[in-house]
Amino acid sequence: MTDTVAAAPEIDTRKTGRLALLSEFWAYFSENRGAVIGLWFFAFICLIAIFAGLIAPYSATEQFRDALLVPPVWQEGGSWNFVLGTDPVGRDMLSRLIYGSRYSLFVGIIVVSLALVVGITVGLFAGFMGGMIDAIIMRIMDIILSFPSLLLALALVAILGPSLINAMIAIAIVQQPHYVRLTRAAVLTERSKDYVTAARVAGVRPIRLMFHTILPNCLAPLIVQAALSFSTAILDAAALGFLGMGAQPPTPEWGTMLAEAREFILRAWWVVTLPGIAILLTVLAINLMGDGLRDALDPKLRRS
């Protein structure tokens, strides 16, 4: 959305195959400055998450009993021992935020993979089979969509029991319909095209036809949706944590940290503000990337 360059860059049409596709994609993607910033920031968070053990000054759960609610270093009373201050039980905020990135990325990855795998499979079947099966699947998706997503996730977690894993399952279920609908719509368009008819006439088995022939041709909108739901998943998991239905303390998940620290909003701004900023920046980076992805993958929007 934030693309600024109007003229399409020249593309070297001599290259063929995957490499060409990739470089074409990168050309479009890198046109979007925001998307590139988002990508770098996202990569940065990924690195932090992977090397959390090396970067973090302390363990996420180690309690310094004589350093409760120490403010960040630039404020009066702060110390270089705890750059971003400590929380009510004396845990280092910086370390907790660093370890917290693992949980947020973990939530995003698991939810998106779950939703993608199940959603695509179900969507493919619905689109390919048609008839009764299609109708039933689509009605189930309608039912899921009739409930506000967070409310549904909340009810599901209440059933499964509050934990990070269950929160992820609930969010994945809530996100199903988007994938199923997208895949099904794509399959319906692709099914009538010549190459599919040709493959079918040639005797390609339905499963192979679905996954090897049709699926690769409807990947673009799915990838965009995946980026979108990656950020939604992080936000929803944080919201569930905030309502006490997500990750349980002392897990340094950002939403749970916020919920735990909420009682301190008057006394210690940093314990409330910092996890929120971490969530915001991560989600923002992913959304910037998502916009770039969509612009690069969706030829219709590319022209606008």
């Binding site: 959305m1 934030t2 600024t4 109007a6 925001g34 009605r139 189930i140 309608d142 039912i143 969509l145 009739s146 409930f147 506000p148 997503s149 967070l150 409310l151 909340l154 009810a155 599901l156 209440a158 059933i159 029991g161 950020s231 936000l235 944080a238 919201a239 905030f242 309502l243 939403g255 916020l258 909420r262 909003i265 008057l266 701004w269 409330v272 503000t273 996890p275 929120g276 969530i279 915001l280 989600v283 923002l284 992913i286 959304n287 910037l288 916009d291 929007l301 606008s304």
Partner: protein, 337 residues
């Protein structure tokens, strides 16, 4: 045309049936015996336990309970809350105006700022103005709203003392609830200052709840406007020498708004989900907070009835949006469903 409407309604019936089953099933799947939970440490004798189960009807076969629930829906009977013993439907409609008032304010706020920001951004496409508007919109779109709410409270209520911390109106005002909408009731009451008090209580929750819809609407308006501005008739209008203001206002915006309206319709679910968080933060006595409380208290009939009613609202709004869209955009009728 008529066929499209029939088909649209036809799809609604199985979905409605499914929603009744789902709302019923959710509750039965919740772990925990509500009677044991009510008794707590004090405990109760097995006889008393059985008696209470019977009284609430939890001892009967599931299908019988479901049938009762299902038939009750058509008589406007969703059972009684286990906590307050009052009919669930009454409870819901006592609290619903508060949520509706907040949601309407949020959506009006989101539309007013979102559409204007989107139009301006589209017209000034590519300028720093466009970029910063859309950057802000993306930040709004990425906002964890529960945190946003807390920040606003700290700033405007805690530090600057501009807005009240929570509630719907200052406690010094007392007047009968006629419509359930505090803004209207406070005007009807004729009490001096009541309306501005109600308004000041609405501001922060409205901003918090409206933030994400605002961002979505702004982005959608911008891209719809861009598409329309590129179309032939707009170019023609421009070529004819019509002033740009007229082109944008009259021709482009009207057509660009069609997809935007759909987007707004889709925001109803988002609003209701956001209401859960917003109402929790601002102690707003609406259905979002009521649902969360009911889930935590294992108030079976309330959760079941609340889920059903909320799903019905979403379904009806979606239906209206679809029908409106069908009216405005004839293309959809043939492909629809």
């Amino acid at each position: 045309m008529l066929f499209y409407y029939f088909k649209r309604f036809g799809v609604l019936i199985p979905t409605f049936l499914g929603v009744t089953v789902a709302s019923f099933a959710f509750i039965r799947l919740l772990p925990g015996d509500p009677v044991l939970l009510m008794a707590g440490e004090r405990g109760l004798t097995p006889e008393r336990h059985a008696e209470l189960l019977k009284q609430f009807g939890f001892d009967r076969p599931l299908w019988e309970q479901y049938l009762d629930y299902f038939l009750g829906i058509f008589q406007g009977d969703l059972g009684n809350s286990l906590v307050t013993k009052k009919p669930v439907l009454d409870e819901f409609f006592t609290l619903f105006p508060a949520t509706l008032e907040l949601s309407l304010c949020a959506i009006i706020f989101a539309m007013a700022f979102g559409i204007s920001a989107g139009v301006v951004a589209a017209v000034k496409r590519g300028t720093w103005f466009d970029q910063s508007l859309m950057g802000t919109a993306l930040i709004g779109y990425s906002m964890p709203i529960f945190w946003w709410g807390l920040l606003l409270i700290i700033l405007f209520s805690g530090t600057l003392h501009w807005t009240p911390v929570s509630g719907r109106i200052s406690l010094i005002y007392f007047f009968p609830q006629v419509t359930g909408f505090m803004l209207i009731d406070s005007l009807l009451s004729g009490q001096k200052g009541a309306f501005s008090s109600a308004l000041s209580h609405l501001i922060l929750p409205t901003i918090v709840l409206g933030t994400i819809p605002l961002a979505v609407i702004a982005r959608q308006t911008r891209s719809a406007m861009l598409e329309v501005l590129g179309e032939d008739y707009v170019r023609t209008a421009r070529a004819k020498g019509l002033p740009p203001r007229r082109v944008v206002g009259l021709h482009a915006l009207r057509n660009a708004l069609i997809p935007v309206i759909t987007t707004i319709g889709l925001q109803v679910g988002v609003l209701l989900a956001g209401a859960i968080l917003t109402e929790t933060i601002f102690s707003w006595p609406g259905i979002g907070k009521w649902m969360v409380d009911s889930i935590f208290r294992r108030d079976y009939p309330s959760v079941q009835g609340g889920l059903l009613l909320i799903a019905l609202i979403v379904m009806i709004v979606n239906l209206i949006v679809d029908l409106l869209y069908g009216l405005v955009n004839p293309k959809i009728r043939h492909t629809g469903g």
